[in-house]
């Protein structure tokens, strides 16, 4: 029983992390119609930023903030070079371009920082809390806490601010949004930067738990995609809920079936959902006006 509860708790804490990455992915998808395969690489950037800043003696909380900024700035450059020029062409091209970006970032990191995983020390490293026999490391609690806060803040931002309204308008119907004076170019640029910066924070948060290494973003991207598909592409609340679900499934699969097959199980679940409940997440086929 305790073991089961432990698995659940682990799953939920990882899940909040997936929610955070998926949140970034889903708002970018919503506004830019871009399936950003380089999303996880920004977690890697955030992780390395945290690593070097802590080595330089900067306190961990500040390092997390700077990781946010660093991911955002690199995101800005990448947006200008690899996304913006393709805004008019077919969506698949921007997706391919993001694959190129991913390849570039991963290998650049390997070149600059070597492929060896690096340990990041946070003030909470090694400490854990005991709730009725369930151990939760404090760093994991921090991950969950910060992720939840950021998800809520982003949700409120989208729901209740001018920027948020513009983002929602741009993702619902970009053509009409332009007519109503929504600066879609600026919005997509801001959305991309915000989306990847959030993922940068995620990277800085997991760094003390999972190490930092150049390829760490790849599996994160895949998980985030599964989450986003489950929750509905472009759906913010769906992304947050989906993250928790995937975290749980993964943790249960790892605990009770096999860690080797973990990824396969996550994707198998995705498959089943797509097969049996396509109406929930499918682009409406019947609804297309003819």
């Amino acid at each position: 029983m305790a073991e089961f509860a432990q698995t659940l708790v682990n799953g939920l804490t990882v899940g909040t992390l997936y929610s955070l990455v998926a949140l970034g992915l889903t708002i970018i998808y919503g506004v830019m119609n871009l399936a950003n395969f380089a999303q996880g690489e920004f977690a890697m950037i955030g992780g390395f930023a945290a690593f070097f800043l802590i080595q330089a003696g900067i306190p961990y909380p500040l390092a997390v903030v700077i990781a946010f900024a660093a991911a955002g700035i690199i995101g800005l450059i990448i947006h200008l070079l690899a996304n913006y020029p393709l805004r008019q062409s077919e969506p698949i091209n921007m997706m391919l371009s993001s694959l190129g970006v991913s390849l570039f970032l991963v290998n650049l990191a390997q070149y600059l920082f070597s492929p060896t995983p690096q340990v990041v020390e946070s003030p909470l490293s090694g400490k854990s809390l005991n709730f009725f026999g369930i151990f939760v490391s404090q760093q994991r609690l921090l991950i969950a806490f910060v992720s939840i806060v950021l998800c809520v803040v982003t949700y409120l931002l989208l729901e209740y601010t001018r920027f948020g309204r513009a983002v929602r308008a741009a993702s619902l119907d970009p053509d009409t949004a332009v007519i109503y004076g929504v600066p879609t170019k600026k919005i997509s640029f801001l959305t991309f930067v915000l989306g990847v910066a959030l993922t940068g924070v995620a990277g800085a948060l997991v760094a003390p738990v999972y190490y930092v290494y150049p390829t760490m973003g790849i599996s994160l991207t895949l998980k985030a995609f599964v989450v986003v598909v489950l929750g509905g592409m472009g759906n913010v609340v769906g992304a947050i809920a989906g993250g928790l679900v995937i975290g749980l499934i993964e943790s249960l699969a790892g605990g009770y079936i096999s860690t080797g097959f973990q990824d396969a199980i996550v994707f198998a679940v995705l498959f089943l959902v797509l097969v049996f409940r396509p109406e929930g997440i499918l682009t409406k086929v019947q609804g297309e006006k003819v």
């Binding site: 690899a82 390849l103 592409m233 080797g260 990824d263 396969a264 682009t283 003819v290």
Partner: protein, 329 residues
């Protein structure tokens, strides 16, 4: 009409010529690179059926590739099938997997399909890695026998190259014949407008499945060739990166054209070999070049070049006329 014929027969001659010429290649490095390029070209042609002609993205083609390769590897080493029979089985099994993957996923569109096929690729890779009793896990399968043709062992790499090239040309020819028929028309129509296809009596679902099966089968042949050439297979060859490379090659070269995937493979192979001079920076630059290509010619290299060559040869007057016509409409 006659020009078409001329093109067709010169392509056939070119094919035969290069098969013959390949028999005289002696440089081992060159042979290795070209054989792997030919296998990549078959993969690109295969994914082009889906992405280019039918408009269905596949980000899991390494799955079919791997299934083809492992079919040959396991059937020949464990059950001692003859290599040619195992080739057939590779084609059949990968094609069947294409059908199976297509059954649930053809109802999905765009990015959903992308993620679902990607998931397929990941699942195949995980299974190859973890079903140790069958696949030998990460270590892979060794000792796949080299095929022999008309009593000539294809252990000699130049003969293998000839054979691989012949496979490529037969596949391209098949694709050409199918694409230039009612089947190809149906696929192209599905890519552009599924509703128009339906009301024209095209069973959209069925034709998508057909494309999946055909494409899967061809990728399986590529896998079979790979297994026979390397004599060993391991899961790492058939990972997400591979899937992505296959799609990228096709789209970079020009999806939906016959030449595009071949050109894409050629150019990417050259670039990738040239980048070896840069050692650790190789993949960094590769990523950079990829982005550059897509940004500069999003429609693909072949259509880009074709358009510019045509413009080059068009007299100025006609150009202006065409331009104004375009504006008018």
């Amino acid at each position: 009409m006659n020009l078409q014929r001329l093109k067709f027969w010169s392509a056939i001659l070119l094919g035969l010529g290069s098969v013959l010429a390949s028999l005289y290649v002696q440089n081992m490095y060159l042979l290795n690179v070209i054989i792997l390029a030919v296998i990549s070209a078959i993969l690109a042609v295969s994914v082009n059926l889906l992405v280019g002609y039918t408009g269905q993205i596949s980000l899991g083609h390494a799955g079919f590739y791997g299934i083809g390769a492992y079919t040959v590897a396991l059937l020949t080493t464990r059950w001692h099938w003859s290599i040619w029979l195992s080739f057939l089985a590779a084609f059949g099994l990968s094609g069947l997997m294409g059908l199976v993957l297509g059954l649930p996923t053809t109802r999905l569109r765009g990015h959903f399909l992308g993620i679902a096929t990607l998931g397929f690729g990941v699942i195949v890779n995980v299974v190859l890695n973890n079903w140790t009793s069958l696949t030998n896990g990460p270590v892979g399968v060794r000792g796949i026998p080299a095929p022999a043709l008309f009593g000539i062992s294809l252990e000699y790499k130049n003969f293998f190259l000839g054979f691989a090239l012949a496979c490529l040309f037969v596949i391209v020819l098949l694709v050409y014949l199918v694409v230039n028929s009612a089947v190809g028309r149906a696929w192209k129509c599905i890519r552009r407008d599924e509703i128009a296809a339906q009301v024209s009596g095209i069973n959209v679902y069925g034709y998508k499945l057909l494309a999946f099966a055909f494409s899967g089968g061809i990728a399986g042949i590529a896998g079979a060739l790979y297994a026979a050439f390397m004599t060993l297979v391991s899961p790492e060859t058939f990972d997400l990166n591979q899937s992505i490379t296959i799609v990228t090659t096709t789209i970079l070269g020009g999806a939906g054209t016959l030449v595009g995937p071949l050109l894409g493979t050629g150019i990417l192979t050259l670039i990738s070999e040239w980048l070896r001079n840069f050692h650790e920076l190789r993949l960094v630059l590769y990523g950079l070049i990829l982005v550059l290509f897509i940004v500069v010619m999003p429609q693909g290299i072949y259509p880009f070049v074709k358009k510019h060559v045509q413009l080059w040869f068009t007299p100025r007057k006609v150009k202006i006329q065409r331009g104004s016509e375009g504006r008018h409409l």
